[in-house]
Structures are given as structure tokens and as C-alpha cells.
Subunit: 145 residues, 4 copies
Amino acid sequence: MNPSQGSDFIWPVRVYIEDTDAGGIVFYANYLKYMERARTERIRALGFSRLETIDPSVLFVVHSAQLRYHRPARLDDSLEVTADLADLRRTSMTFGQVVTHAGRGEKLVEGQIRVACIDRERMRPVAMPAALYQALQGTLKESVT
Amino acid sequence: MNPSQGSDFIWPVRVYIEDTDAGGIVFYANYLKYMERARTERIRALGFSRLETIDPSVLFVVHSAQLRYHRPARLDDSLEVTADLADLRRTSMTFGQVVTHAGRGEKLVEGQIRVACIDRERMRPVAMPAALYQALQGTLKESVT
Amino acid sequence: MNPSQGSDFIWPVRVYIEDTDAGGIVFYANYLKYMERARTERIRALGFSRLETIDPSVLFVVHSAQLRYHRPARLDDSLEVTADLADLRRTSMTFGQVVTHAGRGEKLVEGQIRVACIDRERMRPVAMPAALYQALQGTLKESVT
Amino acid sequence: MNPSQGSDFIWPVRVYIEDTDAGGIVFYANYLKYMERARTERIRALGFSRLETIDPSVLFVVHSAQLRYHRPARLDDSLEVTADLADLRRTSMTFGQVVTHAGRGEKLVEGQIRVACIDRERMRPVAMPAALYQALQGTLKESVT
């Protein structure tokens, strides 16, 4: 089964020469770019075109990331990137993300990315905007059902 | 105490505009670039100018990465990046890496990066070249003492 | 008039946080990524899924680039990138490329990129594969009409 | 003769895996990163640690770039990057920049980069801070002598 199946959101990514390295594969840091694109588009699909504009006093920063590289992606590969909400708290959201080779249905990279909400002035954790929290909660319910 | 102290290898990194993002901070994927530079220079300092040239049939690929972002680095910051060997096996090496703000001595990002040795043909785990293993073992002993 | 109009090929690009810098705008080198994507997709649209696979002995390398930055692109902007063939020779092709703000129809960046065909062994100019030359010639005729 | 000779400022750059692409060479956009680093360090060497802090109302943006790629840089290459002032006006400065292979003394890439001073509010050309203009003028005289 394609590892993307079962996810309610899939973002397609094409591998360009800019993404690869001299090993002929996608440079290991660049999967974090793909995952950030998928999270951004996931949030946009919920109606929030850009997190920073919801409440200018709140910053969204990555708190931690766990990455497991299974197989390399290569130039011109067509990929699918998921961004499922794995955990939701008032001050943070954690995404489980999988990068899959679209053609072969192979799982290439898995990541767990926790994004924290920070008060821009004091640089301390702060509750995310209520509208965003509610919208994200809706996606959690979906995935439980 | 500066978190870099106690490390037997420190690689200095300057933050340029290419590393930053519209949030005014270093983009979260780019710390993986800094860490790769430090690992490369650490290996070079052991006398191996480039891993791939030791034994062309062996590939070194990142197996997994754990990252914890404490505080952001900003444009023009002067950073210190460590690359301490945390674990050494015949077919992999794990580095504990810390990115520190050189001036303030603050820990910014911590990472644990496992690099696996792969047979280029079969894409299966393979023992790393003996000379490299021995040299790395020497650095493990150092850090215990 | 939207500067993309009149072009027979337009590649859409979304600006992500990875593309921006601490100035709040797209980092100046990254427009070369956008232009490379558009050239790649232009060639793909002609039926050549990847230049390197047409004839493995031929390399395609950028010979020169002229860039004129008019206005900056910003986070989340939706862009259009053209890749019109401006000049075609046996051993090189030159693309005229424009990056436009999709919503406002403003010209942001203009580039002229010459890509040369090189013999992989001798690293000397070599004629491009005939099938590619013919396909490209077809697009030149289109733009004259 | 090494093309860097005759320049009063040389910035060393090491090629890391992050800079390369699947062609085994440095990705063509990344030379613009190297050149930006050299310009930044050149300005820093004149005593201006960061352009933006001289006068917060003035932005420095790249106006145009001409690049000529002679030979590719490869993984682990040690490079030298110059940043000679080629032209100085009240509202802009143009740098002539050469990327040289340090070991072989070969010219790899040449660039001419014009940086414009912009009023942050009105986004119109504005005179650069007088202290910077004078310091830059000093380097022009040097190169004439």
C-alpha cells in the first residue's frame, strides 16, 4: 500500500536539480523543505493563508524534528508529502509527515515535526489563535474516525 | 559554561543572508548544513579528506536525525558547531552535535545524526573501511578519558 | 499587460519560507532555481523528461546568466515563470525568462540564461541531440508566428 | 597567474555537499551565495559589520547580476572569491567578482553584481550613508594606484 494512503492531505513535490547533491540523491536537509511546504499547504487548505497573519503577536517556530531516512529520492522523482496532525496542544502542534515515491509507492523519509507558538515579544510559549486551534482540532477528529 | 567546551572539535560558522528566512532567523533546515560541514571537517581533521574516496564501493548516507531547536540564530551571528562521536558501530557512526552562539555561549540547536555505511551496488549496510573505524575509535577513547 | 502573456509556456511557482531571507524577500540566488525549474518543465513539455537521458555522453551546463531584479517577491507570493527560447545553436540554447507576480501582473525579475552542450569526456562544446534540436526549433517558429 | 592576484580582498570558500548537485558540480545558483559572502566580508573588513545597521531606513538590494561560468567547482574544492569594487555611485555600488580554484589557480566563475541603495519606505533609490561611501571610495583609489 502506498504510505500516503490514509492521509487526508497529500502535497506533490517534484525533485529538481537544486534539491540534489553530488551523491546523485536529494540532500538530506532538503526533505525539511518539502515537509515545510506540505505543512504550509495543509494550513492553507484549512483557510489560513499564512500563519503569521492570523495574529501578528504570535510566531510559529519549529521546536523539534525527528527524521528517518529509508531510501533516497533522485532527480526528477515525483514525490508525495503528507502532513497529518499527530498531536495538538494549546501552544504547539505536531505533524507526522511521510515522503513517498509517487510512482513506486515507496516510503522514502518519515518525519515528526513539532511547531511551537511563541509570543513575539517575550519569546515564550503562548496559546495559538483560537480559530486555528479549532480548525486543527477538526482534522484530528477526522483522522480518528 | 559554553556548551561547546568539552568538545574536542569545534567548527566555526558565520550566518549569511543565504541562511536566513523571512522570520529573520536561520531557516530550520539549514542547521543540518552547518552540522554536515562540522562532520566533514571533523573527518578531514582525522586525515580523511573525503569519505567517498576511502573506498569507492562504500557510500555514507544519513540514516536518521533528531533535532531540538532551543533558540534561533540570526544574520551575522558567529556560531560554533561540534561533531562529537556518540556511538560507533562497524556499519554506522552517530554524532552528537551542538550549535552554539559564539558570543553569548548559548546553546541554539542540538542534533543527533546517525550516518550509515552502505554498499553502493546492493544498497545494503556494509562495514566501514578499517582505517576510518580505527581513527574514529581513537576519538571515542579521547572523549571517555 | 501581464508580462507572462505572449509566452507559450508559463510555470507557476509559490514562494515558501525556504526561499526568503531576513530582508523579508526572496533571496536573489533563488530566482535561478525558479528559472531552472521552468526550463526543465519546458523541456519536459516537449517530450524530453530529462535532458541527461537523451544522450548520456552530453552534459548540459549553464554558460552564462544575466539577471535584472525589478521588484522583490515575498513569502506566499504566487509567481509565474516563463522559459522562452531566445536563441538556438547547435551547441547551445538561450532562454529569455521572466518572473512575474501572478496576482499583480508585475514583472519582478528578468533573466537570460545560456545553456551549453558539453561532451562529458572532453568537456568541450558538442552538438546537442538532433531530436532535441528539432523540437526546440519548433518552439522558435511558434514564437515568430 | 592566479586570477585572484591583484585583488585586495580574497574570501576563501570550501565546497560542501550542500553546494553540489546531481551533476557532481556546484549548482549554478550557489556561486551567488559565495559572491554574497565575499561582498559581506569585504564590507565587514571596512568596518561595517552589517550594512542594514548603518542606517535602518536604507535597504541594500541586488539590482542586476551578470555571470559567466567557465569551469565547474566540485565537492571539497577550496575556492577563492574576490569582491573588487568596479563602480561606485551615490546610490549604488558594482562589484567585479571572480571565483578561482585555489589549488589550480583556474578561473571558474566571473560575476558583476550591482547593489542598489533603496529607501525602505518609498522603495526608491537613495544615497548610501556617507561613511560607507567614503570607505568604499578609499578602496577604489587603492585599486587605481
